[in-house]
Amino acid sequence: MSRFGIELPGLTLKNPIMPASGCFGFGKEYSQFYDLSLLGAIMVKATTREVRFGNPTPRVAETSSGMLNAIGLQNPGLDHVLQHELKWLEQYDVPIIANVAGSTIEDYEEVAETISRAPNVHALEINISCPNVKEGGIAFGTHPDTARELTEKVKKVSSVPVYIKLSPNVTSITEMALAAEEGGADGLTMINTLLGMRLDSRSGKPVIANKTGGLSGPAIKPVALRMVYEVSQKTALPIIAMGGVSDEMDVIDFISAGASAVAVGTANFVDPFVCPAIIEKLEDRLKEWEIEHIHDLKGRSWMDIGETAYHRT
């Protein structure tokens, strides 16, 4: 068996690497750089029921080792995503994780129900953690009861496994994870962005039109790693981790912290070839270290030696 094959609810991954939602569009742009079938999976951009333009520009700002974004869930809407974006992606041999967003629970239900029936959608990622929209988004991701209820409702209508995307902007992310688990989630994805801001020093005004934005990139990796470390010790749910991953060592760190697979966001902007590069270097590294399977490293940050749990096929 390969060093990489991973079975997660709904997902048979060739390798543990996938682009993170919102950082890869629906794949088209990156398909000019490499064959998307190389990827473990693709987390596509958030889809809402109706088409959305999103926030005014500027939508991004740079910070030390990070970036802020307030795209505001711009997307062409459910129908268009189904008929064009997901359809187009069918040519690739790669499972799609559809990112679902909305302003009300009903929105989430409707998008989840419909999009989960697309043939190449193997799992849903429920975005209850977008910091950049006024309604919905993060509001669902900061109250355990709301998160539990939303998870239950989405689970009822989805025909594929449901992953809940957690927000780091909470006092206890473990509490949120447990609420999702109680609601019947099949897995967790974490973390979404940290709420932050940048000012233009000369004018004193926010650089981003939406004023605040979500912080991503290497700057947040220590926070993401700590959260995966905490949550993976308290829940049995598999975790797809993200937050500042830009090389194979970052992937190893998140797997060591307890993640089952890893998503790459901001790093795609810095280097559009980063995902296949990581896959290759990760394989080399495991060979060099004589690790048979990436999951032999899983959770070793907190497990005693020998205790390493295998979640492999």
């Binding site: 742009e29 520009t57 500027p58 939508r59 740079e62 080792s65 290497p218 700057a219």
Partner: protein, 259 residues
């Protein structure tokens, strides 16, 4: 097609106040064909600064496999770039976006090129291409002040060149549109790049002729994936249509998008 390469710095010098001319060498140059396209530069390894910087292609030398960019030192990334020495390399992704259509004008027609500040550079390769086709080219270049003026001689070698400075320390005092007011001819098309306020003024002034406008916007990916750089489509009442500056632009037809 977009490519990427670690390109060697073959020359790097200050040519005006805070303005640097950087010449890079590498095979990637072969892909650069359309003036007005840009490259996305990683100024240094490491995570700070993290993002690439979009910089226009100013001139292309396919024989030497070299291209030139001009940039202004303003923030953290360009400050670091300015310190990189000849012989070092920077990582370049490009060419990106759609440039100015060179073949829109025929031999003998008149083009007006209007540039403001750090919007001037992409007009240089454009002007070379247009004059090669036998298009008559007139340049209006606006700067803050005399010390910020660059590439005056280079443009003069290609066609009439008028300079405006905001403080009047050089050329006409005022804006590029103040110079345009005094033009003795009606151009067949205009090409412009510069600050948003200037683009608006230029578009308004020449509303009767066709123009090509190069836009700026803060970018994430530079390739059309992140939706950082969108602008609204002109006349779209739904406000739902958009264009991406990085991949649909940076050059748009006049009247195509909301400036």
């Amino acid at each position: 097609m977009i490519g990427h390469q670690n390109m060697k710095i073959v020359s790097h010098e200050s040519i005006a106040a805070d303005i640097y001319e950087l010449v890079l060498e590498g095979e990637l140059t072969k892909r650069m064909t359309s003036p007005g396209q840009f490259v996305h530069i990683k100024v240094t390894t490491g995570n700070d600064p993290l993002l690439r910087r979009p910089i226009s292609i100013c001139s292309i030398d396919p024989d030497l496999n070299q291209f030139t960019m001009l940039y202004r030192v303003s923030g953290s990334g360009t400050r670091v770039l300015a310190e990189r020495a000849t012989g070092a390399s920077v990582h370049v992704l490009g060419p990106l976006g759609n440039g100015f259509p060179v073949d829109y004008l025929k031999h003998g027609e008149r083009a007006l090129l209007v540039g403001g500040g750090i919007g001037v550079p992409p007009l240089y390769e454009l002007s070379k291409r247009l004059t090669e086709r036998g298009v008559h080219v007139t340049h209006i270049l606006g700067f803050q002040t005399e010390k910020a003026v660059f590439y005056k001689k280079e443009f003069e070698a290609l066609g009439d060149t008028y300079i405006a400075t905001v403080d009047g320390s050089y050329g006409t005092k005022g804006f590029v549109t103040d110079v345009a007011d005094q033009l003795s001819f009606q151009p067949d098309a205009y090409y412009t790049c510069g600050p948003a306020a200037m683009l608006k003024a230029v578009e308004a002034k020449f509303k009767d002729i066709n123009g090509f406008i190069s836009m700026e916007q803060r970018m994430g990916c530079g390739i059309g994936a992140c939706l950082a750089c969108v602008c609204h489509v002109a006349g779209d009442e739904s406000n739902l249509l958009y264009k991406k500056v990085c991949s649909d632009g940076p050059v748009f037809k006049s009247g195509e998008v909301v400036l």
